[in-house]
């Protein structure tokens, strides 16, 4: 009795959604609710990074867009008095605009150079924030940000949670549509073979820029949401850690898939929070590092690929007497 792959996905999706919607009714644990909100935001962030990586552009500086979205949204909200519900999207638009500018430098670069430029860009933005722009941004001290839903409204945490849940679902649906459309096909074509894509009439530069813009926009939304949730923003947002987390989530879940960022974020968050009680501070990061490396080596397509791998492995085991291939052990040293 095997459950079909499509069914598995369908049931998994329905179950996840049901839990997500019903959670506030089942539990009034504010700690868990807070964790879920941060996890949803991470899912948006990871999905944004994933979209860019799907076109073959592995950014190591997505914290820059995350932070720009947060700062722009907060500053617009503080100075104009518009509700954060709208400034989130305005702030993200600023992030998208800057994403296009950085994309313009990056479109012609190879993987390594792109990774370095994006990494460096996050540091330049951080430097600007705490030096030249300090009068506006508050420098290292940061500034207070208006909450998404004012804490004076009763049950504001739940309203906020549902708002963020809706934005997350909308994000994932939007990415799914993009991937199904001609744009998604063009992304795939560019990643697989740029020369052939060009021969087929796909302009790689345009589509790469588009990927950069969408990705930066979504990362900006995630950043703005997180700051509205926390209520305070500091230049720590631009930290290297913030750039590396989406990478880790996506690699664990499965690069270039819709479900990958979601699964990766959920699994890693559970592991991360589960280890909190163990008293490890640095050890948790070491474990994350090992998870990342082991995934890359042994499960290159991520957790979404796990059922197929298990199936293939079972088939291999079932087929007895197929002869032992002289396989080179991976433990052989020289």
């Amino acid at each position: 009795m095997t459950v079909g792959r499509d069914n598995l996905i369908k049931y998994g999706l329905i179950a996840t959604l049901a839990i997500a919607v019903a959670f506030p009714f089942l539990s009034d644990n504010m700690f868990l609710l807070n964790l879920l909100v941060l996890m949803l935001i991470s899912i948006i962030f990871a999905s944004a990074w994933n979209l860019l990586a799907f076109t073959g552009q592995g950014s190591l500086g997505h914290a820059a867009f995350f932070g720009i979205g947060a700062y722009a949204s907060t500053l617009i909200a503080v100075h104009s008095g518009i509700s954060p519900f709208f400034t989130i999207f305005l702030g993200a638009a600023v992030a998208a605009f800057i994403g296009i500018l950085i994309g313009l430098t990056c479109v012609r670069l190879k993987e390594w150079f792109l990774a370095m430029v994006t990494f460096g860009f996050a540091i330049i933005v951080e430097t600007l924030t705490v030096s030249v722009l300090a009068p506006v941004t508050g420098g290292w001290d940061g500034i207070a940000s208006p909450r998404l839903v004012s804490p004076s409204i009763p049950g504001y945490q739940f309203i906020e949670y549902y708002a963020i849940l809706i934005i997350t679902i909308a994000t994932i649906t939007a990415i799914w549509y993009i991937m199904k459309s001609r744009i998604g096909l063009a992304f795939l074509a560019i990643r697989e073979n740029e020369l052939e894509a060009r021969a087929a009439g796909v302009d790689p530069v345009r589509y790469r820029l588009l990927a950069f813009a969408i990705s930066a926009y979504l990362a900006g939304v995630a950043g703005a949401l997180q700051i509205c949730h926390i209520g305070y923003l500091t230049p720590d947002l631009y930290g290297v850690n913030n750039s590396f987390w989406p990478v880790t989530y996506v690699i664990l879940g499965g690069l270039g898939t819709i479900a990958g960022p979601v699964i990766g974020t959920i699994v890693l968050t559970v592991i991360w929070e589960g280890l909190k009680g163990s008293g490890l501070t640095f050890g948790r990061y070491v474990i994350v590092g090992f998870i990342l490396i082991l995934t890359i080596i042994f499960l290159p397509k991520g957790l979404v690929n796990l059922p197929e791998r298990v199936q293939a492995w079972r088939k291999e085991r079932g087929r007895k007497g197929s002869g032992t291939k002289p396989q080179k052990s991976i433990w052989r040293f020289f």
Binding site: W112, I124, T127
Partner: protein, 292 residues
């Protein structure tokens, strides 16, 4: 001090900072040349090297300039293990994988070091602290001069190793043409391990120099010099060791000049601005690279 004095002072600081970058960039270049991989976690080897030297110095009190050898040897071992367990299995599976794998290594090394040694800032007092030598109009700390001489010695030793020994020749052959090297009977996987180990040893030397010059260190110092080493490589050309030397000196001077003119906060950002400007003008780096 007059303007010329300040200028010379900045140049000298730049030369000294450049020494650390040169060693790091040369190691990266060596690894890139042979294996065609870019290890973003290279700076972590600098940090580990720094900690090994410092720990041994605290324990034994031996002159830290001698401990550079111990540190380099230890890092050859660590580098060989990392290459064998992490990079070899994914060699040729795509450049993005190498980048992501380095992120995993950064997590492990930084926080592993923090688990062993704690994450507070530490520093080492060099035995020659306070001794200065007059050079022209300047009085220069003796440590800086030893560091420069030591860097030059290491680079000359590396040059001789690459030119004169059989292994060095095999390394050069592998970097020129991997398949060709296999055809003439070179065990390229052995060469990979040796190059990676040597690259890490150079990072360890850089870490030791970092420590003995009295700079403070903690488990997170590695990232910045590593990314600067990339800037240098892009300045000087991927795989070119003379390029790395010139690039390292230029960056060291540019950085200290900027720190003097705009304030210390710009010290890190300036190398990235240089990087981005170069890549906008020439997407393949200043001296380009052979298509791979």
């Amino acid at each position: 001090m007059d303007n010329l004095g300040i200028f010379l002072q900045i140049m000298f600081w730049g030369l000294y900072a450049g020494c650390i970058y040169i060693l790091l960039a040369t190691g990266l270049n060596l690894i890139f040349g042979v294996m065609k991989i870019v290890n973003f976690a290279h700076g972590e080897f600098l940090m580990i090297g720094a900690y090994i030297t410092a720990t041994l110095f605290f324990l034994t009190g031996i002159n830290p300039y001698l401990l550079i050898l111990v540190s380099m040897l230890a890092l050859i071992g660590i580098g060989a293990v990392v290459e064998r367990l992490c990079f070899r299995p994914i060699l040729g599976t795509g450049k993005l994988n190498e980048i992501f794998l380095s992120i995993g290594l950064i997590y492990i090394f930084q926080n592993g070091a923090a688990m062993i040694w704690g994450d507070s800032w530490q520093s080492v007092r060099s035995p020659y602290e306070g001794i200065t030598v007059p050079v022209g109009p300047l009085s220069v700390p003796l440590d800086y001069i030893i560091i420069m001489i030591l860097t030059a010695a290491i680079l000359i030793a590396l040059y001789l190793f690459l030119k004169k020994t059989k292994t060095g020749m095999e390394m050069r052959a592998t970097s020129q043409n991997r398949k060709g090297a296999m055809l003439v009977g070179i065990d390229v996987e052995r060469i990979d391990i040796i190059s990676f180990g040597l690259g890490c040893a150079l990072a360890a030397a850089a870490g030791t120099l970092w420590v003995v010059s009295g700079q403070v260190f903690n488990p997170y110092i590695g990232s910045m010099p590593a990314v600067k080493a990339f800037t240098i490589i892009i300045l000087g050309g991927l795989g070119s060791i003379p390029g790395a030397i010139i690039g390292g000196l230029l960056l060291g001077i540019a950085e200290n000049g900027t720190a003097f003119l705009l304030g210390g906060i710009w010290k890190d950002a300036v190398s990235f601005i240089i990087l981005i400007v170069i890549l906008v003008i020439r997407p393949t780096g200043l001296f380009g690279e052979k298509g791979d």
